[in-house]
């Protein structure tokens, strides 16, 4: 006997028991994990395997035999490593000092004004970073505008080719990366909170110390991270502005040109240092969040 099909099933999609069985437990659509498969494969090939290759190269010599010599060689570059961290630290601190009052002032403006100011902060960010460094090369070069200006006052200094020039370049590159995250958290501080604190008798300094500063810590943490990591690892800025002074990014590039193994070792160490820094900042942020 032929089975009678139910009117409670969509007439277009009359089905057999087999299709039901086949479809059982089959998930599809946005409830499915399957759409992630291409990207999971992608991550394996273009994220994980390359990093494993760095690891492999770092621990082998050019014949493919296991060695730790690459890491011993790094010792030659340890001063550059420390120098890079030093430049990164100084640049980050200057960015923080410059950005903090700026972010606070912006966050107290009207919303319309805020979005305009933010837009103007972002315009230079969208310019190619090499062109921005190049601008400073032009400004700081001997017989350049700043040099000429200082000469008029009888000051005779070399403006380019030193740590100061590198730091100026770094601050110029990354200042917006400090302002934006701090502004983002500060703009969420309700004005009524500040007023409440004033109402309770806090003076401006106290309002700042007890209300604004604690609430802005997450922004400071992400700003510091966003400035420190690229500053420490960037390359070319030193080549443009630092004269003979190199940073670790430049070293990795140069070493890679002739020796992948040593280059990988340096890259690996840099990665571990940066990861350590990120973990530290994260912990710090969590502790601060709990402390409040």
């Amino acid at each position: 006997m032929k089975t009678k099909k139910s009117a409670y099933l969509s007439p277009k999609n009359r089905f057999s028991l087999e299709t039901v069985k086949r479809r059982r437990d089959s998930q599809a659509g946005i409830k499915s994990k399957r759409p992630a498969i291409p990207y999971l494969g992608w991550m394996l090939v273009f994220t994980i395997i390359p990093l494993l290759m760095v690891l492999y190269y770092a621990f082998t010599d050019d014949t493919g035999a296991f060695t730790l010599r690459n890491f011993v060689n790094i010792a030659d570059y340890s001063h550059i490593f420390l120098y890079s961290l030093y430049v990164a630290l100084i640049s980050t601190l200057i960015c923080l000092v410059l950005a903090y009052p700026m972010s606070f002032s912006i966050s107290r403006c009207s919303e319309r004004k805020q979005s305009i100011i933010i837009m103007f902060l972002m315009v230079p960010m969208w310019m190619n970073f090499l062109l921005r460094v190049y601008a400073w090369v032009l400004i700081l070069q001997s017989y350049g505008p700043l040099d000429t200006l200082l000469q008029l006052f009888g000051v005779d200094v070399t403006l380019i080719g030193n740590t100061g020039a590198i730091v100026v370049g770094m601050v110029y590159e990354f200042l917006p990366f400090m302002i934006l995250p701090i502004h983002a958290v500060m703009s969420k501080i309700d004005n009524s909170l500040i007023e409440a604190a004033q109402d309770l008798g806090c003076n401006s300094f106290f309002v700042f110390r007890k209300v604004v500063f604690p609430l802005s810590i997450p922004g400071i943490i992400s700003g510091v991270t966003m400035v420190f990591v690229p500053t420490a690892s960037t390359f070319l800025v030193a080549q443009y502005l630092g004269g003979d002074q190199l940073m670790i990014g430049d070293v990795i590039e140069r070493v890679f040109q002739f020796n992948h193994n040593s280059g990988s070792a340096i890259a690996l160490v840099l990665m571990i240092v940066i990861l350590g820094f990120l973990v530290f900042m994260n912990r710090f942020g969590d502790k601060e969040a709990v402390g409040r």
Partner: protein
């Protein structure tokens, strides 16, 4: 008093950010190669447009940015949906791996991809170039798409999808007829970020481009490295105007949308 000092401070910071660029732009009109003003000219602009290499680089950059951002958007949107359906530890593990290209120093990503491509190249007989740069760009763009789409996915009312199924959509139809509209703002901003990051990338491109393939940032590097080149100034001026116009338009559009939404 307070207001005034605040305004001065704004002015100083803005001057710090803009004066170097304006200086660059001003000297793109200088009829000399040094910092001495020798009169107004447009010759560097003509030279720029007549430089076939630069124009090819520009073309390459745009093609790479377009392809990379579109592919990354498709890949990333699908990935965001899939990852969202993983639970707890597995999900955060996937998200962490996915964020590696964002948190890792660019130079490490660059050299690691270079190792991969040279190894695969010798194995399969290809040289780095257009394809490897494209792959690398897709790689660092996709995480940004995922980061932009995931919050929309969280915000979306799950019953919208179910309502579509209920009314007779197959899961695929439900995605294209309903879900994608809900995710659109996230997908769009992911696409935009991918496009601009790809346009601007130098470090990763530098390590994966091989010996012949040029993009605009790489071209800028060869133009400005260890020398002064007024064509770079002219290029800066054009880029600056483009960025400015683009940002002003997008700002105006979004503020109009805001006022419309408020109404």
């Amino acid at each position: 008093m307070k207001k005034k000092s605040q305004k001065i401070y704004f002015g100083v910071i803005m001057a710090f950010l803009y004066l170097p660029i304006l200086y660059l732009i001003a000297y793109s009109f200088n009829d000399g190669k040094t910092s001495v003003w020798k009169g107004f000219t447009l010759k560097w602009y003509t030279a720029l447009f007549n430089d076939a290499q630069i124009m090819t680089s520009l073309y390459n950059t745009l093609i790479i940015a377009l392809l990379a951002s579109v592919i990354a958007t498709v890949l990333g949107t699908l990935a965001a949906i899939g990852i969202y359906n993983f639970k707890g530890g597995v999900r955060s593990a996937i998200q962490n791996v996915s964020n590696i290209p964002i948190v890792n120093p660019e130079i490490v990503t660059g050299v690691s991809l270079m190792l991969l491509f040279t190894f695969a190249g010798t194995l399969m007989g290809f040289e780095m170039g257009f394809v490897t740069v494209l792959l690398a760009h897709i790689g660092f763009c996709t995480p940004y798409v995922i980061l932009n789409v995931t919050p929309r996915l969280k915000q979306m009312d799950g019953s919208l999808y179910e309502a579509a199924l209920d009314l007779g959509c197959s899961p695929v139809q439900a995605f294209f007829k309903v879900v994608i509209h809900e995710l659109m703002p996230g997908i769009f901003s992911g696409l935009l970020i991918s496009f601009t990051y790809s346009l601007d990338d130098f470090v990763i491109t530098y390590f994966t481009r091989g010996s012949r393939f040029q993009t605009l940032p790489v071209q800028i590097y060869t133009m400005t490295h260890q020398r002064i080149n007024p064509k770079a100034n002219a290029l800066s001026a054009l880029l600056f105007v483009t960025v400015l116009v683009f940002l002003i338009i997008s700002n105006a559009v979004s503020s109009r949308k805001d006022t419309e939404a408020a109404r």
